[in-house]
Symmetry: C4
């Protein structure tokens, strides 16, 4: 019944390799079937070259395994926190992609510096705060998710308009309408992280791009007045 979902999630996981976003097994993709409340996610620590459709694990929104012989990704609880709190998203991606991870390790927000960023992310991509000792010692992956949700709430960011975050000293998460859209955003984030690094090195005092230009590009591609692409 969920073979199609599993197959999509397998394919999306393999795209992480194609787009050079992962090394070894350091990444995971999930997708949710909102109607049935079923999530499909990559198994933990399985080589991408050996992963099969039946290895993809199915669970519900509380993390109870529905189907699957293997253990789900150790980051499952972070994914679930996204699905529980961001009601419009359909897919989540986590990677340790090099440039985005560099920003996360530096503990810095990735500010919008150009139209590539603006085409996909409507403002800065936040870097979360440091986690407390008890958060780390506790249900760490769940707490990671909670810190992300807190960041969006406290900064009043709409996750549908800024579909990505940098977890401090860790790496990026992105999301989207479905798992493929989430992978797409992971690619864009990596590209923005690379060019923002270079721009900032060239011009250390560089400020965010003009708000008007951010608006223009984001709204050119999103919302009811979008006119980019074949729509």
């Amino acid at each position: 019944m969920y073979d199609k979902l599993r197959k999509r999630v397998l394919e999306a996981n393999l795209l992480l390799q194609k787009y050079d976003l992962i090394t070894f097994t350091w990444g995971n993709v999930s997708e949710i079937d909102r109607e049935h409340g079923v999530i499909a996610i990559k198994p933990s620590g399985v080589e991408y070259d050996e992963m099969k459709v039946e290895d993809i694990v199915l669970c519900d929104l509380e993390g109870t395994i529905i189907e699957g012989e293997l253990k789900p990704s150790s980051d499952l609880d972070t994914h679930l926190e996204f699905y529980r709190n961001f009601p419009n998203i359909g897919g989540v991606v986590h990677t340790h992609s090099k440039w985005a991870t560099s920003w996360a390790q530096a503990g810095l927000d990735l500010e919008p510096l150009g139209t590539t960023h603006a085409d996909y992310f409507y403002g800065s991509i936040s870097c979360t705060r440091l986690m407390s000792k008890s958060e780390i010692a506790g249900s760490y992956e769940l707490e990671t998710g909670k810190v992300i949700i807190e960041t969006f709430k406290e900064r009043n960011i709409n996750p549908d308009m800024v579909p990505g975050v940098l977890v401090h000293s860790h790496g990026p998460f992105t999301w989207g309408d479905d798992c493929f859209d989430a992978v797409h955003n992971a690619v864009v984030l990596e590209e923005c992280a690379m060019t923002a690094f270079t721009s900032k090195q060239l011009n250390p005092d560089l400020d965010k791009m003009q708000g008007e230009l951010l608006d223009k590009h984001y709204l050119r591609k999103h919302g009811k007045n979008a006119y980019y692409g074949q729509r």
Copy 2:
């Protein structure tokens, strides 16, 4: 009748992938048939892997569609402004290539630092000024073109001798005798942007290269006294 033109434009668009200048659909190439005043351009938001000859859109110099089922690139109006104002050019390329985009985001001109630059661009590659709120809110793509033309006029730059520009907070445009020449210049610009970044990091006080050396290399490859290649 314009099948050959369309085919060339399709091929040139695919070269952007080959030379690693684009991610997803973030780039577009056009070419003009000056005799008939017909421009062929990439459709908007179509995947490179799926693009076919018949998807290439034909229009006139005012942007009226002559043939094509799909919408043209959303950057069409910028391309047209080039063709209307730079009478000797035959092809235009726009990309978000990483290194050139980094300079554009930094808001800095790309100064000539070495003979690679001098072989193709006779002086600095300008970064345009910030656009005004009304320019952004208005016919944005057309205004983008106008700001570029303004830059060349105010700085008294011959577009035939400096076939590229960096649009502030956005990315590069290049042009040339035809669409393949424009792609060629896009590759060179990216390479110059990468090495200039590194040179400037190594030597922050670095000034432009000697004018005599710029002259020598540019004129070794261009104009009536050129002696590079098999001519």
Copy 3:
């Protein structure tokens, strides 16, 4: 009798190419059969494309050749010093991989800045001290090994928990349970070296990551309470 060992070592050497860790012949992998005290190591200066199973050299822990027509890697004495002093390791890798070598040339420890590092290395990856004139003039490769061992002893580092080192003005060594694990760690080290460079450029005052997060990630993957992967 040691064909399987030789074959493993050949395969592991070829992985250095696959993971883009070497140029020409600048790298070597060895593995030890602890039961018989036999070490298999790459021959010196042989092209990777031409290397065959029978070219892999076998020797004992004192470096006496047991089998093999070719001379062993000139770094053999360094490898042996590892096997003699780190009793739990089964494989050793040396490369001149670009990013790790850059840190070694800079003479700087590679501090843990994020969870990628923490997943594999439980603390800073040390850069060794400069070698003395007599150490360099003497049994240089053996002395290189001795300086590494000294570094681990003086800094009280457990080599099983920090399976890598940067040799000053030279490059990285990594090790592991077997030769494939050692290659795996070489890949991780290179990735950490790249992202640490970028993070430090973005944030020059950046300090080590939180100790609690380092603990959490390292212990999530290692030791009796590990819960990453299918165990």
Copy 4:
């Protein structure tokens, strides 16, 4: 009669592509047959994908064409100056490889920072002085060669022990026993240029490596006491 020489030079030119040292036609390789005083060199501005054995041009030490329908590389006069002044070399390579070119554009010597450099280059790789207006306006390619030779004489550098140079605001030349050795050195130079950039960014006050270590590594691979490889 010189088919073998031409074939070697063609192959060596193609290696520049394999090792990612060139873009388009920006590079050239030559080799000399010292016995007959015949030099084979790449033709000017010919695409690498289309180059054939018969396109390789043959000339003597004064540049007089002996055989070949095409014009030789415009850098021929620089190559000849090498062959006339460095009597032990058999091959010359010129590229605009990215990292080495970045150092040349920055106008900086590439100092030895690690054993990779020391294994091939016995000391700093010089960046030449700026050329005078009359040198640039005159026989430019010949004068480029003369400035290189001058650099080696004035700094008292043995070109057999430092087989490379950075031409100011231009790019690298390397040489070697034959054309393949010269290509090999071009690859090494590029790698040293990349890691030296990164090391210097990490540690701006970084000085040259220890002289003793430079000696050890260079002499481990070169001269009568060499013990690296299968000799």
